[in-house]
Symmetry: C2
Amino acid sequence: MAKQRVRVLPLGGAGEVGRNMWVVEYGDDIVVLDCGVMFPDADMLGVDLVLPDITYLREKTDKIRGILLTHGHEDHIGAVPHLISDLNFPPVYGTRLTLGLLGNKLKEARLTDKVQVNTISDASSFTLGNFTIEAFHIAHSIPDAVGFAITTPGGMVVYLTDWKLDHNPVDGKPTDLEKLAELGQRKPLALITDCVRVESKGYTPSETTVGDAFDTIFAVAPGRIIIATFASNISRVQQAIDSAEAYGRKVLLLGRSMENNTRISLEMGFLRAEPGTIIRPNEMGNYPDEEIAVVCTGSQGEPMAALNRMANRDYPHVKIKPGDTVVVSATPIPGNEVSVSRVINNLFRLGADVIYGAGANVHVSGHAAQEELKLVLALLRPQFVVPFHGDYRHMVLYRKLAASMTKLFTEEQILIPEDGSIMEFAPGFGKVTGKAPVGYIYVDGTTVGDVGNVVVRDRQMLAKDGMLIVVVSIDATSGELVAGPDVVSRGFVYMRQSQDLIEATKDAVRSALTSKNGGSPALGDAQYVNRKIKDVVSEFLYRETRRRPMVLPMVMEV
Amino acid sequence: MAKQRVRVLPLGGAGEVGRNMWVVEYGDDIVVLDCGVMFPDADMLGVDLVLPDITYLREKTDKIRGILLTHGHEDHIGAVPHLISDLNFPPVYGTRLTLGLLGNKLKEARLTDKVQVNTISDASSFTLGNFTIEAFHIAHSIPDAVGFAITTPGGMVVYLTDWKLDHNPVDGKPTDLEKLAELGQRKPLALITDCVRVESKGYTPSETTVGDAFDTIFAVAPGRIIIATFASNISRVQQAIDSAEAYGRKVLLLGRSMENNTRISLEMGFLRAEPGTIIRPNEMGNYPDEEIAVVCTGSQGEPMAALNRMANRDYPHVKIKPGDTVVVSATPIPGNEVSVSRVINNLFRLGADVIYGAGANVHVSGHAAQEELKLVLALLRPQFVVPFHGDYRHMVLYRKLAASMTKLFTEEQILIPEDGSIMEFAPGFGKVTGKAPVGYIYVDGTTVGDVGNVVVRDRQMLAKDGMLIVVVSIDATSGELVAGPDVVSRGFVYMRQSQDLIEATKDAVRSALTSKNGGSPALGDAQYVNRKIKDVVSEFLYRETRRRPMVLPMVMEV
C-alpha cells in the first residue's frame, strides 16, 4: 500500500443491502465504520444471519483505533457482538441511543465487560491515531443518527449513510446541512454514501407525514388499532404514541425487539409518553377496544413476530377480530413480499380491516431520493464518490445521476465498489487498486462460520428433490452383500405410495453389486461400492422420475 | 343438491393467483371453466407446478359436457394435459389461438388424438346439455380471449376473467361492452370475475401505451435492444415487432416458449411481421447491432430462461455487452422480485443499460382496475357476484368496492369463495352451502401427485438445517453393536471442520446403545434402536448447536 494514499474498503454492504462495514486506513491507523448484519437471501437456506467478512482485518487488528457506529439499526450494529472478539476488542464509538441499543446486544452475548464503549454526541470531534473524527447529525428513521468526517493525513473521507433531508423530523433535528456545507468548503477527498433509493425521483417525504396518516386512522377506527412497524423505528413508534394520546387510547408495545428497543428509548428519553399511556398486556381488559392501540413487530411477515402470530391466532395477548384495524407501517424488504402478503390475507380472513401499501401513506423511507442525493453532492463536492448500501444497479444509477449534474462530476469520479474492493485515494487519484478476500459468513443457530457454501448448496439440493439413502452391509473380505440394500427417502417421493419405485431401486442396486465388472476394483472396496451405488441409483431415478434427489450410499463393512 | 339451484365452485384460483378452474353445475349437466396451472410458492420446495384438485369431479365425469377455455395463458389452459384423462376426456372449447396454444401442449403430452377440441369464435353460441353457452370478446394481454355467459335452466352465470376495458387494444378488438350491456338486460344470476387489480385506482392503461414507450427507446438506443416479456403476451411481442419495423431493426425471438408461442401465433395470423423482419440466430452476424432487436423469455428472472442465461454469460446467441439496451417489459409476479432484481443487477454488471420498473412505462397489466370493475358491475347488475383470481385480501377489497356503489349491491350479494367452496344460486338465493375436498396437487418432474404435503414438509426441514444419518449394524439376536456408528451429514455442518462434533455424536450413540435400560425392550429390536438413536442424537445436536437437523438412524441387522 502506497503510504501517501488513503485506503478505503467495504467488508460488506456494497452491491447488497445489509451487513454494512467499512475500513478507512492510512499509514498505521485504521478506523472501522459500522459493523452490521444482513438477513439471508431466500437461497441461503436455513441461515439466520450473514456477517461481513473481516479476513482483511485479521492481521491488522493492532492498527484498529476504533469502530464508529452511525446509528442503531441491525445492519449497522448487529455484527459487533459476533466479530468484536476477532477484532481484538477495539473501542466502540457511538451516540447515546446507538450505544444503548448495542448495550443490550452485548449483554445478551455476555460481552458487556469486555467492550469499551465511548459515547459521542452529534457534534463530537476527537482523534483516533492520526485521524480526526467529526460527527454530525443526520435525519433517518431512528433518532440520534450521525455521519462522520474522518480527516486523515492523506485527506478527508466523509461517511454519510442512511440519511434523508427531512426538514420536519419527529425529533426536531434535521440533517445538519450547515456542517455538510462547512465540510464541503474543506474539499473532501472522498464521500461514501448510501444509494438505495436512487430509483426514486424527487424527495423522500418527511417522517411526520406518517403521523398525519395515523391521525386520520385514529380519528375513525371503530375498535382496536394495531400498528406493525420495525422495532428500531423509534420515530414511528413515537408518532403512534402521539396519535394514541391525541385520540384517548392506551398503548401496548408487543414483540420482543419492540419491547427491548422501546424500553431503552424510553429510559434514555428518545421516546416520550405521558404517564399511564403505556400499559401492560394484563391491563388491556380494563379498557374498551376503542381506547386501545397496539404497536408491534412483524411488519415484514417474519414467522415468529407478533403480527404473524396474531394473523395465525397464535398470540396470547391479541386475538384478531372484526372491528380491529391493522396498520402495516412498513414496505416489504425485497424477498419478504409474499410473507407480508400472506399475513395481510390472514388478517382479512379473521375479519380485521387492514391498511397497507403505498396509497395508504402509512410508511415513508428513511433514505434519500434523487434530489436529496444531488443536493448533498452539490454541497460536499468531494473529489471522489463511492456509493454503497444498494444493489449493483443502484450504484450504477447513482453514478449516472451524479454525472448528470452540470460540470460537477465525471463518471470516473464515481467508483463502484464490490465487497472487498480496495480503493485508494490521494488528491487527483482515486481507483480500485486491489481486492480483499471476502465471502458470506453465515450465522446458523449458535455458531458463526461452520455453515459455509458447501452446506448451503447441499441444503439447496435437498430442498429441490430430497434425498435417498441406500444402506448395504458387505463382508469386509469377500465383498459379498451381507444385508440390505435398505432404502430410505425423505423429500423425494412419498414412500408408501411408491413401493414399486423403491423395490425397483433395490433391484438395481442388487444387480449392480452382483454383476461381474471386468477389470474394476474388488467389490470389497467400500469406497468403490459407494460410488457404484451412487451412479447406478442416480441414473435409475432420473430415468424414472426426471428428478435428481441426493443419493447417499452407506456401506458398512462387517 | 337442490335440483332447482345452480351450483358453482372453484377447484383452484380462489384466494390465490393461478390454477384457475371452475365448475358450473345444474341437474345432470356440468361445464368446466378453464383448467390452469399455478407456479409454486417459495415454500413448495422443488415442486414444478401446482394443479387444481378435481376430486369433486371424479364421480361425476359422465355429467361433464365440456371444458370451456377463456384464453391461452398457462393459468387457464396449462392443466388440461395433466387432468383431461382423469376427467374422462370431455370435449374442449376455445378460440383459434387458445386451441393453437393448447394443441402444442397436447402434442408434447402425446394426447392430440385423444382430445376432441372445438373451435369457437368470440360470437359463438352453442348448447351443452341443457346449457346455452355464449362467448363474447374481451381485451387482455393475449389476443382471442373471451368471456362466457352460461344460461342454465336455473339462471345465467357470467364468467368474466382476465379482462380489462382497453379502448385501444393492439389487435383493434376491445372488450365487447355491447354484449355485456345486453347480458345485463337479461338479469344474470351470478357473475364470476377476477379481482387481482382491485387495489389499483382508476383505469388500467391501454396496452398500446407500451408501444409508445418502445418507440421512444427504439428511437435512441445505440446498440442492440433486448426486450424480455411473457412468451404468452402476443400483443406485447407484436408491439416490439412494430417498433422494430418502424426503426429499421430485425427481430430475433428467443427462448423455448417464446419460439413456440410466436410460431403458432404467426402461423395463425395473430402475430404479424413483414417478410424478412424475423431472423434466426445464425443471421445475426449479418446486421450491425443498431439493426437488431431481441424479444425473449425471462422477464420473471426464471433461472433457465433466456434473459437470466444472458445475464450469466451462459446464452450462446447473445453475449451482453456495453451498448446493449435491455427492456424488462413485465412486473415481477409476487415472489419473483428478488430473482428479477438479481438479473437486472447482473445485466448492469455486464455493461448493459437496463430499462425496468413502473416509471419506465414498459409494462401495463392485463387486468381491470377499480373503475373498470365498477363499470362492468353497473352494466351487468348480476344478483350475486363471486370474485376470484386474487388473494383473500383482493376478494375482500372487491366486496367493499362493489358495496360502495350507490344502491347496486349489499355486501351479502358478494360471495367470497375459497377453493372448493360450493355455492348455490337461485333467484334471490346465493350462499356457500358446502365444501368440496381440495388440496394442492403437485407436479414434480414427470409425475403428478406422488409429491404431497409430507414430502414438501420434509424438504422444508432438510432445507432449514440439513440432516444427519447415523448407521449402525447390530447383531440380529444379541442386539450387540457389530459395526458403526457411522455418521454422515449433508446441509448441517461442514463435516471436515466439525470432526469434534461428529465424534461426540458417535460417542453419544455408542453410550446410548450400550447403557443398560431397565425395563425397555431388548436392544435387538431394530425399531427401538432406531427410535433411541433418533432421540439421543436430536437432543444432543440441539443442545450443542441450537439446530434441528433431520436425524435418520439406519439400523442394519446382520
